[in-house]
């Protein structure tokens, strides 16, 4: 199977290259593929792909099928073109079951040429250069030699001690004394130490304190799940979504602004994008297609949950939907009441203040301790967002007067009171 698909891809590549060569001869317009790519992403990408049928047809080779004039008319206002009785236009319309393509009267001729140029040139290929060159350089991680150094030093020490022992014995022999083994000497030294009450007392205290200290931190750590990073049912990457693609946290976690829960997005929210983005184009670090041009198995899990037929591009009727069972990372005990909207909306905190650099997390983990001490500390330090909030209209002056212009933290308006979080 692998070879066939590889062969196929090779063949199609040849075809595309040949086409490009051919078309470059035939083409009568000049376009800027870079600008075209931008325009394509803005205007066309929700319905078209270059190499694949989406809602509309694949656009590779479109300039060969149709004349430049015809394409201009069609893209500007396809309905008008159809109304004029153009056979090609009506044929396309019927082929796609009467789905209407938007009109783009605002695009200039040059814009359209740019887009068409992009359909010919395709995406710029990443330049992969093996070492050197001015392409992509991958810095080798600095190797950690500390272990070897320690071992080396240890060996050196051992050799030196042996040498010293040898020398001492040699000197003893020279003085006509019997040589003593190093072990005997160590035993003698140990005997002195063990009989020294002062030493024993100090050592006992040190060991006990160290043990109790460790025990204390071990016990305090029970139930603190900082850095908890369970395996999730879908290998969802916040780094990709929130980092690379710059999707606002609130787009998916929309209830964080309104409700106590930040809300895990339901599968239909995922589908807003993943109806079009199926992961075939995901590339690995080396720039190769990660899934060999197949649909991402992770995104397929969303389709399986909600019942989306990716081939037919429609929801399967009467599908038995399966919820995605995410593993909850941030678990507060039931006795603590926490409200996201209080912090995100009224308190105007950034999500990252508690959740850490989510936009860099390939796999989500618990960044903060989520202990009461951690909460309290923040309430002691964080200033209340009085500005532009009409709720505090009267209180602000009263509080400023009461605290003589000190900074007014959450603590000063009752943010440390038990009943504010425990009820």
């Amino acid at each position: 199977m692998y070879t066939t698909s590889k062969l196929k891809r090779f063949a199609s590549l040849i075809a595309v290259v040949a086409l490009m060569l051919f078309s470059s001869v035939a083409q009568a317009f000049e376009g800027d593929a870079k600008n075209g790519r931008k325009l394509f992403k803005q205007n066309c990408a929700s319905c078209h792909k270059l190499d694949k049928k989406l809602i509309g047809p694949a656009l590779v080779g479109v300039t060969d099928k149709y004349s430049e004039d015809w394409l201009l008319k069609w893209i500007r206002n396809n309905a008008e073109l159809r109304a004029s009785g153009d056979e090609d236009a009506i044929a396309i319309f019927e082929e796609y079951n009467g789905s209407v393509m938007s009109a783009f009267p605002a695009l200039s001729d040059q814009d359209i040429f740019d887009i068409l140029q992009y359909t010919i040139d395709g995406d710029p290929k990443p330049v992969v250069t093996a070492g050197g060159g001015d392409g992509l350089t991958i810095a080798a991680p600095a190797k950690d030699y500390s272990k070897e150094i320690v071992i080396g030093l240890g060996l050196l020490l051992f050799v030196m001690i042996s040498l010293l022992a040898r020398m001492k014995n040699t000197l003893r022999l020279v003085n006509g004394q019997d040589p003593v083994s190093i072990l005997d000497e160590a035993g003698w030294f140990w005997g002195r130490l063990i009989n020294n009450k002062g030493f024993v007392t100090v050592a006992t205290i040190i060991v006990t304190v160290a043990f109790l200290n460790q025990l204390y931190w071990f016990l305090m750590g029970i139930g603190v799940e900082q850095n908890y990073q369970p395996e999730q049912p879908i290998a969802f990457s916040h780094a990709l979504h929130a980092g690379e693609n710059q999707i606002d946290c609130n787009y998916c976690h929309s209830s964080a602004r309104h409700s106590k829960h930040s809300g895990i997005p339901s599968a239909n929210v995922c589908m807003n994008c993943h109806m079009y983005v199926d992961g075939t184009e995901i590339k690995d670090d080396a720039g190769n297609l990660k899934y060999d041009g197949e649909r991402s198995p992770e995104i397929s899990k969303i389709y399986a949950a909600i019942g989306w037929d990716a081939e037919e591009r429609q929801y399967i009727e009467d599908y038995e939907q399966q919820p995605i069972k995410w593993v909850r990372i941030h678990n507060l005990p039931d006795l603590a009441y926490f409200n996201h909207s209080q912090h995100v909306n009224a308190g105007q905190l950034e999500c990252q203040e508690c959740h850490g650099p989510v936009e860099t997390m390939e796999e989500m983990y618990q960044y903060s301790e989520l202990t009461m001490g951690w909460c309290i500390n923040c309430h002691r330090e964080t200033e209340v967002q009085f500005e532009k909030n009409g709720y505090y209209q009267d209180f602000h002056e009263e509080l400023t007067e009461k605290y003589h212009g000190e900074k007014i933290t959450a603590e000063k308006i009752g943010g440390l009171e038990c009943g504010k979080c425990h009820y």
């Binding site: 908890y228 309104h258 599968a267 909600i306 909850r328 409200n339 709720y391 009752g414 038990c418 425990h422």
Partner: protein
């Protein structure tokens, strides 16, 4: 990352993980010997010694502890497709109505994540926009695990199509449809389509009264009462603040009872003490058999001054005559502002009532607007029962009624029963076909409860079980295939008027309802002519009547623990029904009720026969204010097939007296040897001369300065006399900045109905503890309504007659035989100098900047010092793990997967061993403030309120911010009537009360 870590206690453990597992599970690892376990030859030579045993113990405990350190994996499962209208964590409200054959209420249903969790009054609705205790409790009945889960044919599970086919096969010309009152136009249409003989039976009959109005107007309804137009109300046997008449009069009553010139005067004549009687200015202790004579007596007085012909009436007892005469002259003086309300279900009584109201030209007695919530017909019921006897009926289809329970004297065994019921109750369990009926919160329905009113009931959750709405089932039996929604939409198109369907669902009612052809105000001349009637002769000897309790009603929620746990407002007993009896009768019959050493009340029982129907060992409660010679028993109890909560609680009153009969004079009663334990939550029945409930008369209120009748305690000091607020040891909290939450409770408006208590339980996940625990005074209600009787002995009387202190206090403990009654809701008073806060060794209860007394459950270690130090006794201790302990499996809803769904997710379910108490609904305060912060605006008064204040039908409870000078509560704090409970203790509570004013000299 602990999830990935394994903690090994020792090398043995690592090499043998199964053993560790085993040890962690078995507290006593006695199935392996120490030799095997330790692998040590020296030990192997000896038998397992005590020391080894201790080693095992230590090891297994440590292993179990370490195993418990592993955090469980918590899944977080989002919707696949989230409904647009829902945001997880935020409530959604639906406007709908509740009608269960007795109560009608316009309500808002609060749902969280699709689960209805609270019923709240729909204040905008025009009719019955008040929730009583039963309406509040009804949401838990939705999650009753005893409900019927699917259709059954001959006791075996069946599909809907099979069950419907079997049911249809049973229907013939001789079949009968038996329902409770029907006020749904859509259901009436479906019933007409079904075409069976339709019999309507009410659990509490008003049939004879209805006959009177049907005779004159052709409409089977009762007049509505416009109390706002009344200045004097005389009610006889009518508990209009409780269950009388289908119309909720609480708000209007409380409004007219605001102390001022022209305050409503309320005279009540009744046999047993009711909520209305407790609130009356003058209460006449009458026998049920005297009701007609009293009405006739008043009619004659009115007739003589308006030139009508008097009726022949027997003479009245001397001891009630004075008060009846007084009532008559009050009514005459008030003229058209007077109104007479009758609760006796006889034609004569209602004819006389109608005639008096018409002769007085009462503006409050509205005969042009009828209420239809109870419209059963006893004559047709009797005819039906006669036909059953002679075999003229083959199949009975029951809908929302339980004839086997309600009519125990009738024999339905020869009939085919098709039961449309929510559970396999006494009737449905012997039915050929049982069709599951949806709870009202799962159903589509519509209502026309009163003339000119139309409302729609919408589902707030998909049916939990395989059940359907009443209208859909009846329509399907009639051969239709429409869904309930379609049927209601069709009906709404006819009745709702111009309002859109979405508008109707949004409001819950139609403001443009197409009024049914209503009566014009003109009266039939016959209405006022009562000359021909034969007034009933008062009887001597014992009389027996049935009544409804505030919590139970007629028993619609008979498997709902909240209705049982709510103490009866009058007797302060929960989990029981019992015969109420006067102290004089108790002496004659040799009945005693007394507390045991632990404070639990125990009393004798009674063997009673009414009209030849015997019942043995019925508990008896000696009730102050009960008319001598009358015995009352509450209906709705004594169920045998309602579910684990309600089965075998109390006795079935219908076994003594059918619902069609108002009372019986054929009673014999003898004390039985068997004793009965009561679950009483209040042992002290009088205030012992202390100033707990302030009470004054209207003339005093009008003419005397409040400083005299509402004197504040002062303390002598070197600074001169100081008030309780100024004389204190502690530094004051800053209560000037931001909010200061206060609550005002108007004792003049509080009727004692208990809606607040149930609302509080719902809102705050208050556990149900069951009879045994209540009996030990371990009830958990955060809010209680104390009831006090007046006593014959007063300190003044003792001074006058030179009675010594010991005798004085002994006598003051005994309530009067005809007492005044006062109710006082008491919850945590949120003291600003709280005695509980100073004694807590762990700082679990602390004060907030906003005037609240916080309780941190997770800090509490259960010393109970705070409860001990609380002068108001409002702190409750969790003696048990109510949500897990087997003892509470039958009563506590949170032990059930369904019952748990009613819990409020914003409030902690408290663990065992901690104190809990009223938080003034801090979750609502916090949410209300947050909403304002989110919107960036100031809080407005009344934007949110506590659950108790919201449920209060008479607006007795007002909650708000006293630092907001525009708030209602800040005005109420300045009132002359305002006082703090036990102010002299110096606790400076945030809750304050308004002095009760009685309208009498």
């Amino acid at each position: 990352m602990t999830e990935n870590n394994k903690y090994w206690r020792g090398i043995e453990e690592q090499s043998n993980p199964e053993l560790t597992e085993k040890l962690a599970q078995n507290e006593f690892a006695n199935d392996i010997s120490s030799a095997e376990f330790l692998g040590n030859d020296e030990v192997a030579e000896s038998e397992t010694s005590r020391r080894d045993f201790l080693k095992f113990m230590g090891f297994s405990t440590a292993a179990a502890t370490l195993a418990a350190c592993e955090a469980p994996i918590v899944e977080s499962i989002p919707y696949v497709v989230k409904p647009d209208s829902l945001t997880p964590g935020l409530p959604s409200y639906y406007a709908t109505s509740m009608y269960d054959g007795m109560d009608y209420a316009s309500i808002l249903v609060k749902t969280r994540e699709g689960r209805p969790i609270k019923v709240e009054p729909n204040k905008e609705a025009p009719f019955n926009n008040v929730t009583n205790a039963r309406t509040q409790a009804s949401v838990l009945s939705l999650y009753d695990g005893a409900r019927l889960r699917g259709p059954k044919v001959s006791g075996a599970d069946a599909s809907w199509s099979d069950a419907m086919a079997s049911a249809k096969k049973l229907l013939t010309e001789k079949s009968v449809l038996l329902t409770s009152s029907v006020i749904s136009p859509a259901l009436k249409t479906a019933i007409a389509k079904l075409g069976l003989r339709h019999i309507c039976v009410d659990p509490v009959s008003a049939s004879n009264r209805l006959d009177v109005y049907e005779g004159f107007t052709g409409k089977r309804g009762l007049p509505t009462i416009d109390l706002e137009n009344a200045s004097t109300v005389f009610a006889i046997g009518a508990d209009f603040l409780g269950d009388w008449g289908g119309q909720n009069l609480m708000a209007a009553y409380a409004d007219r009872r605001k102390p001022s010139e022209g305050m409503l005067k309320h005279i009540q004549a009744e046999a047993g003490l009711t909520l209305s009687g407790s609130n009356a200015d003058v209460r006449i202790k009458a026998r049920v058999s005297e009701y007609e004579a009293i009405l006739a007596h008043i009619y004659n007085k009115v007739a003589s001054s308006t030139g009508l012909i008097a009726v022949n009436t027997p003479a009245l007892r001397d001891d009630i005559l004075t008060n009846v005469d007084m009532a008559a002259s009050e009514l005459l003086a008030a003229g058209s502002s007077a109104v007479v309300l009758n609760g006796l279900n006889t034609k004569n009584a209602e004819r006389l009532t109608l005639a008096i109201n018409l002769a007085l030209n009462s503006k409050a007695f509205n005969t042009s607007k009828f209420v239809y919530t109870s419209n059963g017909n006893d004559e047709s019921v009797s005819a039906f029962l006669a036909d059953v006897k002679i075999g003229n009926v083959d199949t009975v289809v029951t809908l929302g009624v339980n004839p086997t329970y309600q009519m125990p004297s009738a024999d339905f065994s020869g009939l085919n029963i098709v039961a449309i019921a929510d559970r396999e109750d006494e009737t449905a369990s012997s039915a050929k076909v049982a069709l599951p009926l949806s709870h009202y919160l799962e159903s589509w329905s519509d209502f026309s409860a009163v003339d000119g009113h139309y409302a729609v009931g919408q589902p707030t959750i998909s049916p939990l079980f395989d059940s359907k709405s009443a209208v859909e089932i009846v329509n399907a039996l009639a051969g239709g295939s429409e869904t309930a929604k379609t049927l209601i939409q069709e009906s709404a198109a006819l009745h709702a008027g111009s309002i859109s369907w979405n508008g109707l669902l949004h409001d819950g009612y139609s403001s443009t309802a197409v009024a049914e052809v209503s009566m014009n105000g003109s009266m039939d001349a016959g209405m006022i002519d009562v000359s021909g009637i034969n007034v009933m002769k008062p009887q001597s000897g014992l009389e027996f009547y049935t009544y409804t309790k505030t919590g139970m009603g007629a028993g619609e929620n008979a498997n709902n623990p909240w209705t049982y746990e709510l103490p009866d407002p009058i007797s302060r007993l929960s989990w029981d029904n019992y015969i109420v009896m006067s102290a004089a009768d108790a002496v004659e019959l040799g009945i005693e009720v007394a507390p045991e050493s632990n404070g639990a009340m125990t009393g004798n029982t009674l063997n009673i026969t009414v009209d030849g129907n015997p019942l043995e060992n019925v508990p008896v409660w000696i009730q102050p204010g009960q008319t001598k010679g009358t015995l009352g028993l509450a209906v709705g109890f004594g169920r045998t097939a309602v579910g684990k909560v309600g089965n075998n609680v109390g006795v079935n009153a219908f076994e003594l007296l059918p619902s069609t009969q108002a009372f019986s004079g054929q009673v014999t009663a003898t004390a039985s040897e068997v004793e009965h334990g009561f679950a009483s939550v209040q042992l002290a029945h009088t205030m012992m001369g202390r100033k707990i409930v302030n009470e004054i008369s209207l003339p005093t209120f009008m003419n005397v300065s409040h400083e005299e009748w509402n004197e504040k305690p002062t303390f002598e000091s070197y600074k001169g006399p100081l008030s309780a607020f100024d004389a204190n040891l502690w530094d004051d909290h800053d209560h000037e900045t931001s909010h200061m939450w206060n609550m005002s409770i108007d004792l003049n408006s509080c009727t004692g109905c208990g809606a607040c208590v149930v609302a509080c339980s719902l809102e705050n996940n208050v556990p149900v503890v069951g009879k045994d625990e209540v009996r030990r005074h371990r009830d958990m209600h955060w809010l209680r309504i104390d009831r006090y009787y007046s006593s014959e002995m007063t300190p003044e009387l003792a001074d006058e007659n030179g009675i010594g202190a010991i005798e004085k206090y002994a006598k003051m403990e005994i309530p009067s035989e005809s007492p005044d009654v006062v109710f006082q809701p008491v919850m945590c008073q949120h003291c600003n100098h709280a005695p509980c806060e100073t004694v807590c060794p762990v700082g679990a209860t602390v004060h907030s900047r906003e005037g609240l007394n916080h309780m941190a459950y997770n800090r509490c270690i259960g010393t109970r010092y705070c409860a001990n130090n609380c002068p108001y006794k409002v702190r409750r201790f969790n003696w048990f793990n109510y949500k897990g302990n087997e003892k509470f499996a039958d009563v506590n809803p949170s032990q059930d997967d369904y019952g748990r769904m009613v819990l409020n997710p914003d409030v902690t379910v408290r663990a065992r061993g901690v104190i809990e108490k009223c938080s003034l609904c801090i979750q609502r305060i916090q949410l209300g403030k947050l909403e304002a912060k989110k919107d960036g605006r100031m809080l407005t008064d009344g934007e949110f309120t506590t659950a108790c204040a919201q449920a209060c039908g008479s607006n007795a409870i007002v909650f708000g911010d006293v630092n907001n000078p525009k708030s209602e509560v800040s005005h109420l704090k300045q009132e002359g009537r305002a006082y703090h409970l036990l102010e002299e203790v110096g606790t400076q509570p945030s809750v304050f009360y308004q002095t009760k004013v009685r309208n009498r000299a």
